[in-house]
Symmetry: C2
Subunit: 283 residues, 2 copies
């Protein structure tokens, strides 16, 4: 019987192992400077922060600790977004891993949690968009320098997340009761076969559903929309079953073009955690 | 900066990720009922026992805990032998990770440690040979039933290991000052490229060096010798660099024939741990 922190770490590992996961590092693909081994080390390093959350620590400090441990490898940002979903989910699992409970966990976050969130950006470079003009003082890329402005405005971590939507589908999970994470868990449960295959199927279904916000941030909305349309066409054809080569080609093409749907991977990892906790998948 | 327990868990993950690792589960190969995901879950589950060792617990109880956590997945025995090497190495790293220190760690094991070792066999099926006639009462497959006989004879865990040589090259490490584990770490340090590639190279070099004792146990000495000869020929040709397809074919052939050089993988994992601790590799 694994603990919640163990399941969260395992979710990170299973996520990166799933293949084909178009555009991202997976069991069969590395990017130039971001390799499979960096994700393994990132998952191992994140565990202490996940254990803090499981032990009842506040979400912000547990997240900062998880990110700082995750960042102790050479690949850079591997799992920042995944941890931003996993930490409140692990915290909720202390009581009950359900949408209402995780909603109450994020509703109870404080200005202090928001400050920890800003500190987490000191550990690793994260791709984010420019904030709206009235939020410039709260640009997360300012890291700890933004904390005085944050405290002056008295914004909680949930309020920070609320201001990051639209444009960041990890933040959207926070304000929408982690609906896609729980939906992903249900799809993982309903899928067949080894966990790695289910992971690939659920990743594709998520990618087909909404344009990936990390792709939109790093490239543009049109690129993100195009990736989603292609994923939707493959899903429609049940291509993982009927024409796996087409999915592999799509994956190779996105990797070659440097298009990495990282937000979709984050939601996949969150779904894996929920499914592991609920015993719906059991590697 | 990772802790020793984190490095040991990461060593397990890097070991299984290395490819091609002829005959074994690797980043590109699953066996029928033993898949990559089982090794991921095994590594995550082992961590608590590794932390016990890092905190100074006795080798036997830490090992039993690591095995019990490792076994909490559906694939069966994934990393029993690796943990039998890693636990004393982690324990040694509290003081200094060197051959003399790990030799003193195993020399200080007690009858109690041996009892824990026997209890560990209750958690998982491990492939072992029939013991010599005078050791029948101490057949590890008897698990806890063998403990009274063990206590009557007053054998420490090191003495049990000593009686398992020849025929078990994990036990041989215990009585030979972990010489191949430390040699593997040096080779990992001297190799080039990503850790996953170094792992594959060092695995092949170890396989070429001595017949794998798990292959000899599950099949026979001739099969183990043949595998080593083929590995030596590939190594001689520098095939990982000059003819990678030949190594991949060798890997596929062994998998197809159910020949899994698990002991060589165990020594590789131990080498990875030593190299990580010494900062000789840093994913």
């Amino acid at each position: 019987m694994r603990t919640s922190a163990q399941n969260a770490e395992l979710a990170l590992l299973l996520e990166v192992a799933g293949t084909p996961k178009p555009g991202n590092v997976d069991r069969h693909r590395d990017l130039d400077d971001l390799r499979f081994e960096h994700f393994l080390a990132g998952a191992v390093g994140a565990r202490d922060g996940l254990e803090l959350a499981a032990d009842g620590a506040a979400v912000g400090p547990a997240f900062e600790r998880a990110v700082s441990g995750m960042a102790a490898q050479q690949g850079g940002n591997t799992q920042f977004g995944s941890l931003l979903l996993l930490v409140p989910l692990v915290r909720a699992a202390r009581e009950e891993l359900s949408q209402p409970v995780v909603e109450s966990v994020v509703r109870e976050t404080t200005v202090g949690d928001a400050a920890s969130f800003y500190r987490a950006f000191e550990h690793v470079d994260v791709a984010v968009d420019d904030p709206p003009e009235d939020m410039a003082a709260l640009d997360v890329r300012r890291g700890t320098d933004a904390i005085p402005a944050l405290e002056e405005r008295g914004l909680t971590l949930l309020e920070i997340m609320d201001r990051s939507v639209p444009g960041d589908d990890v933040a959207r999970e926070w304000v929408r009761g982690f609906e896609r994470s729980f939906a992903a868990a249900e799809r993982l449960a309903d899928a067949d076969g080894p966990v790695a295959d289910r992971t690939a199927a659920v990743f594709l279904s998520l990618l087909a559903e909404r344009p990936d916000t990390l792709v939109a941030t790093r490239h543009d909305e049109d690129t993100a929309r195009d990736v989603t349309d292609r994923a939707a066409a493959l899903l429609e054809d049940d291509a993982l079953e009927t024409d796996r080569d087409a999915v592999e080609s799509f994956a190779d093409d996105l990797v070659a073009r440097g298009i990495n749907p990282g937000t979709t991977a984050d939601v996949t990892a969150a779904g894996l955690f929920v499914a592991l906790e609920h015993g719906a998948i059991a590697p």
